[in-house]
């Protein structure tokens, strides 16, 4: 694949390195001359100096034949514009934007960016997994279906302990796919499975009903 990366900071540099290792053709666009020199010294001639939001720069790097454009500068608005210019002027088949502000995710999606990656959200989710008091963690978002795969822990003292699955009032279109007990025994739950403190439940639910699911499993 031919991949254009906008932004040669830490993320852009390591991304380019990883993609080159996988055998892709990669070109990095970076504004800072010293950074360009550093990347070219480290990775070979794969970086050019320029503003990735400018049509002229994107034309120069051959964006019209790119399979993918990834914008990973530190500025959300710059990443948005780079992706939109690539898409609308050069028909880039796929664009990915890095986000710093997680609330821009919905906006970017509405404005036609194919995929967004919010480093802030990823770090937050990882931290939440390590914080035992937080009962719901996102594992995966199935973008085209709008469904979430989540991990819910049954906290000690929860009013659902001792209840069977069929006694719970789960939100619609929600499936509890796996229950892992405190003793690390995974099993597929049935209607008569009884919830225990410390159970970990992997469930699929429509994204907008995630809070309802958390409430029905925690009894709160």
């Amino acid at each position: 694949m031919y991949i254009v990366i906008i932004g040669g900071g830490q993320v852009g540099y390591y991304l380019a390195k990883a993609l080159l290792d996988e055998g892709h053709e990669v070109l990095v666009v970076e504004r800072d001359a010293r950074r360009v020199e550093f990347i070219n010294n480290e990775l070979g001639s794969v970086c050019i100096r320029g503003d990735g939001c400018e049509t002229a720069t994107l034309a120069e790097v051959g964006t019209e034949r790119a399979d993918l454009l990834i914008a990973v500068t530190a500025r959300d608005e710059g990443n948005l514009v780079a992706c939109q210019v690539a898409k609308h002027r050069f028909n880039a088949p796929r664009t990915i934007a890095r986000l710093s502000n997680p609330s821009n995710e919905a906006i970017f999606k509405k404005l036609g960016i194919d995929v967004t990656v919010s480093s802030t959200n990823i770090i937050l989710e990882n931290i939440k997994q390590e914080v035992p008091t937080h009962s719901l963690t996102h594992l995966l978002y199935l973008r085209d279906k709008g469904m979430e795969v989540v991990d819910i822990k049954i906290q000690p003292g929860s009013s659902t302990i001792g209840k069977t699955i069929k006694e719970l009032s789960l939100p619609p279109d929600t499936i509890l796919s796996l229950v892992i007990s405190k003793e690390r025994k995974p099993k597929v739950p049935t209607a008569t499975t009884v919830l225990q403190a410390g159970d970990q439940i992997i469930a699929v639910t429509p994204a907008e009903l995630e809070e309802a699911l958390r409430a029905s499993l925690s009894g709160g």
Binding site: C53, E54, T55, A56, R75, D76, E77, G78, L80, V81, Q84, V85, H88, R89, N101, S103, I107, K110, L111
Partner: protein, 132 residues
Amino acid sequence: MKIVIMGCGRVGAQLASVMDANGHDVTVLDIEDYSFRRLAPNFGGTALLGNGTEEDSLRRAGIEKADAFVAVTQGDNRNVMAAQICKHIFNVPKVICRIYDPLRQELYSTLGLDAFSPTTILTQMLREKLED
């Protein structure tokens, strides 16, 4: 008419002051409160500290009830992003956006933004003066 202006530089401040003097309900947004010194001394609108590319700041500026939004910060990309949020997310009836880069201005105009490039306009003016 309720107008939200993003960017209180020379243009933003002057536009805000003029529209306020003409009896409109004006809110001007900037990320630096020092910028508000440019507003006319008798400016009667609202000067609000905030980033117009963030939905929350726009809501605080009353974007949901605004009749018009004008993006005139120094950053083309910020203007483009804020203008698109106002047009496509908040459905503001009139959205105007400054883009210095003529090529980007052309692209976003074809994408339906009411965008103008001071670079193009000034070049045209100077050309006419020179060839006069």
